[in-house]
Symmetry: C2
Subunit: 415 residues, 2 copies
Amino acid sequence: MTASEIRALFSVASRPEVVSLAGGMPNLAALPLDALSVEVADLVAREGQVALQYGSAQGVPALREQICEVMRLEGINADPNDVVVTVGSQMALDLVTRIFCDPGDVVLAEGPSYVGALGSFAAYQARVVHVAMDEHGLDPDALRDALRTLAAKGITPKFLYTIPNFHNPAGVTLAVERRTEVLEICARYGVGVVEDNPYGLLGFSGRTYPALRSMDPGVIYLGSFSKTFASGLRVGWALVPPAVRDRLVLAAESATLCPPSFNQMLVSRYLDGHDWRSQIKTFTEAYRDRRDAMLAALETYLPDGCSWTTPDGGFYVWLTVPEGVDTKAMLPRAVTARVAYASGTGFYADGLGSRQLRLSYCYPTPERITEGVRRLAGVLEAELDVMRTFGSPARLTPTPPAVSRGPQSPSPDTA
Amino acid sequence: MTASEIRALFSVASRPEVVSLAGGMPNLAALPLDALSVEVADLVAREGQVALQYGSAQGVPALREQICEVMRLEGINADPNDVVVTVGSQMALDLVTRIFCDPGDVVLAEGPSYVGALGSFAAYQARVVHVAMDEHGLDPDALRDALRTLAAKGITPKFLYTIPNFHNPAGVTLAVERRTEVLEICARYGVGVVEDNPYGLLGFSGRTYPALRSMDPGVIYLGSFSKTFASGLRVGWALVPPAVRDRLVLAAESATLCPPSFNQMLVSRYLDGHDWRSQIKTFTEAYRDRRDAMLAALETYLPDGCSWTTPDGGFYVWLTVPEGVDTKAMLPRAVTARVAYASGTGFYADGLGSRQLRLSYCYPTPERITEGVRRLAGVLEAELDVMRTFGSPARLTPTPPAVSRGPQSPSPDTA
């Protein structure tokens, strides 16, 4: 059970002596807590009767308008009536899956993909077929191959689930010139697109990529304030075509009646009264420093035979270790050496990923990141040492599963 | 679509000139907003880094302990490890349905039943079989009959969904002497029990009923702070047997990753630092005054041939109108006369309820309630007048559906 693996990791990682490069918790140190404290006090005192009351299932209208403003930064021109506010974008993803997928239906997703998406797909018994990426993101040729192979079996996937920007866990971004191609391929095969974009505004080069949704109004777009403001408020959203909206609102009503008015009104006030663009810049600068620290440490400490992605935004580096090392089997030894990571198999629905792992640089300080990577390098060296001493890696690690339900999925950094 | 009917009603009811007896919005006027404002400001200033961050899928541990204290008032002795905090108890209900029900499975529910429960059952394509109530709540004989009839067809329902206290919409309470009987009948047929108890602490006689869960640790219990504190925070919970807990936590993680830490910590502080028992007493006194106003007005204004339940707590009166009047068909005329209610068919999965309607006394002031009932009486008089003038009621209203998938369900006030 992948989700509980991740949960177990979080629990271990919470020991202070362990450097956790495992979790994806945003770094909130830069939040202006004093100003927020005043804001929330005023919200309760002046608008408490509304903020503490049930609201509409679709979400607070003023916030839905502001969400359209936020999306405009990525070229999206949206109607607030087509926005549905959810309890984090996870809820939007879960409900979209509920609406579209019956047991046995096929969903396409990058390989590797976001563990929370795989969890929702599994919850509705959808089958995931992974599509390979390279350093420019989802590979259009691999997408075409996957769709052709499925079509030959009479299967039309329900949708392509994709994280185009600063991918979790792969750390890569879909090249702009590939975006229309991906959309065209999906259109040709009659396959919808679900674009999950929690990190899009957290680019390190100052560049913002055009959303797939900005190129095709049929795309279902998922957004979140978890990384640009505060994850603990659980405010996300879906922008959906009008034909999907009513079904999504009805599903949301069945799921929670309505998202918390209180949280929505606080986000709305924050967007209205604070310089949220500067705040995102502040966050991004902190993440860039951490990314730099991680890349430098990987370069300095890791043994030969390792390779990794170079993220231009977001939270994650995807690392491939030398052949014969099993990152899941190694994890307990890493934790003993006081460093934690997320092993690669959790990001695949088909058993791949045993030679990969995800490193998060979002939460620890640069110094801790450097120390964490140094410890990880020591663990890898020890692993390789044992392999050199005792021969074949098969003695150390179980044979990787031969079965793969999807197209072969090379790690994104090897292509 | 019942949920959207209710939604449309809410929208109409929001016009200030209409007295809405339709919605179930709690009356928050008595909340100590100034004290809460100070509390929430302190929460953000001192614990913002935790409150605004992701938390565990199961919920904040301190709150889960406090929830056990709250449940102790109804005789429940629970372990905080078996409590799962959810985004309102609606989410708990939705996930419990997700876990237990496949399409076509049967669920038992009182007739009438909570519209949000019927929505979740429909979302997972579960079939609802209604069980009749009388003024003492769920009728054990009707339950036995329903289970016997189903067993004869080889069907074992997945669970009995029941609201034992101050029922929504029926306004009745399951007699204490029936509680063990209901549990025994379900146990004999191998049917689980889901106890939904949002109103249990809102009794007007000062009496608290023992929860079904206090008599049987196998019962799944759903609780909520929406009516005892603030609905807009969306904090509810499920208390489940250990065998169900891990599946529920996993489902919750798939649904929203985690409930908002911020909201949970605010509820936790409120329970810790404020006299929440007195606050509930204050709420309850206000609701009792409103109930009294409604009952007096019904007695004064309603035409002969109407009957209604006498709630001893909670928010609702269930009204049966004279034969021939269709409450759904009458609703537009009622709204024109500036009074709104929830027509009865929305509370049944099988087309019953056209002679019933739900009146909520939770939100309007006693004066408005009196005026609303007076207007409703006028609408009913006019309806009866037309019937007397033009003859058979069939000319006015469509024939009620002859089909009933469940046992016949007399309205609770006729038995």
